[in-house]
Symmetry: C2
Subunit: 226 residues, 2 copies
């Protein structure tokens, strides 16, 4: 076990009950007393704190703008970046299989641990301490976000474009999924049948592949980035 004091300094929070911190760092591959339930709760605390923060700081943003900004702040990639700043990978407790396959560097495991730590602070202390932790570890990201300028993702833009034109919605279809469990590559087709345009996208997740396919359809239509 590594020096949990250093991690607590990085978090700016000292646990009364360090077993909560240990549990928040324990992946389900390492045993029954793992961080899955904490992650469920931490996700909700994070979602609330970010929503409240955005509402307060951006009184003129629309609900859609706030939603997109929140999605940006709480998404897996953002939280994995926070985890890397905190060097969480050094502290994660993983089963041997996960350890061997590099689980401590994977976005999903890092991001889940961040959420679990937020809940661990809530359990160890109270809501205000957990909210303060969220503001502290996401300070840079929160400071940089500007809800009014969040670009819409390609799928949303394509859908809105087609709806505005009175056309039917695009159809996404998974063409292939290749690779082992943690390195899957998806190929997805996006068909805008009214326009007679079909494009394929690929990516490490179905969502990413769909976005790329939608992006290509938009490019073909000639809809510029908003």
């Amino acid at each position: 076990m590594l020096d949990l004091k250093r991690l607590q300094r990085n978090l700016g929070y000292e646990f009364r009950d360090e077993t909560l911190l240990v549990q928040s760092l324990t992946h389900r591959s390492a045993g029954a007393r793992n961080n899955e339930r904490l992650e469920f709760l931490g996700d909700a605390i994070l979602g609330f704190e970010i929503a409240e923060n955005l509402c307060r700081e951006h009184p003129n943003a629309s609900e859609g703008e706030l939603s997109r900004a929140r999605a940006q702040l709480v998404k897996r990639e953002t939280l994995a970046g926070v985890a890397r700043r905190l060097k969480l990978g050094d502290y994660l407790i993983l089963g041997t299989g996960e350890l061997r396959s590099g689980g401590q560097t994977r976005d999903s495991i890092l991001s889940d641990a961040v959420e679990a730590i937020i809940a661990a602070v809530f359990m160890d202390a109270d809501m205000e301490s957990a909210r303060a932790l969220v503001r502290r570890i996401l300070r840079e990201e929160i400071a940089e976000i500007s809800p009014e300028a969040q670009p819409k993702d390609s799928k949303t833009r394509l859908q809105e474009y087609l709806q505005a034109q009175g056309k039917s919605l695009p159809v996404y279809q998974v063409i292939s999924v290749e690779g082992s469990a943690h390195e899957q590559q998806f190929v997805v087709e996006c068909r805008a049948s009214n326009l007679g345009i079909t494009e394929q996208g690929e990516g490490a997740s179905r969502r990413k592949a769909e976005q790329q396919a939608a992006y290509k359809v938009l490019a073909k239509i000639g809809v510029s980035d908003s």
Copy 2:
């Protein structure tokens, strides 16, 4: 304007600033000072309170069971039911178009108003008052939920079945969308190509149509309700 005192008695909360309550009842069709931003915030407060409540009351439920239970409690249909108990439809402030088309009886508008009221209480007082409101207005639903016994939805069950069999994922495709904006009827096809089974479902939303299609595929395979 109706008697807001009666509504506040039903909510078990008296506003210091009644304009917040009025704003939470105002649909976007009725003007710029509407409930959209409040709904965004209220959704997050609701999500947190339900998550925390479920974690506390069900210490042995898995993360998956907690997630399904929360989804059940915060979904549109559940919140619309709460709104009807509170007779919220009588108090909603809608634009004339929405009023004429019966917006005050629509699940989405009712459900959004419930979330907005939760945020209005938070703004009027504090987090604890908002959380207490959630527990009060959802008391019956919270008491009845048993996370360990949430049936999985048909799409989830079909996906898990196919994955367990090592088959490729089912493909959903919208076949048609008919009707005007608020009364659309979706027909969706679910194709489990490895099994050579294709079924169609229909419903008032794409999600419902997909669920029905998945349900029919499950029935054809002979997978019983879990």
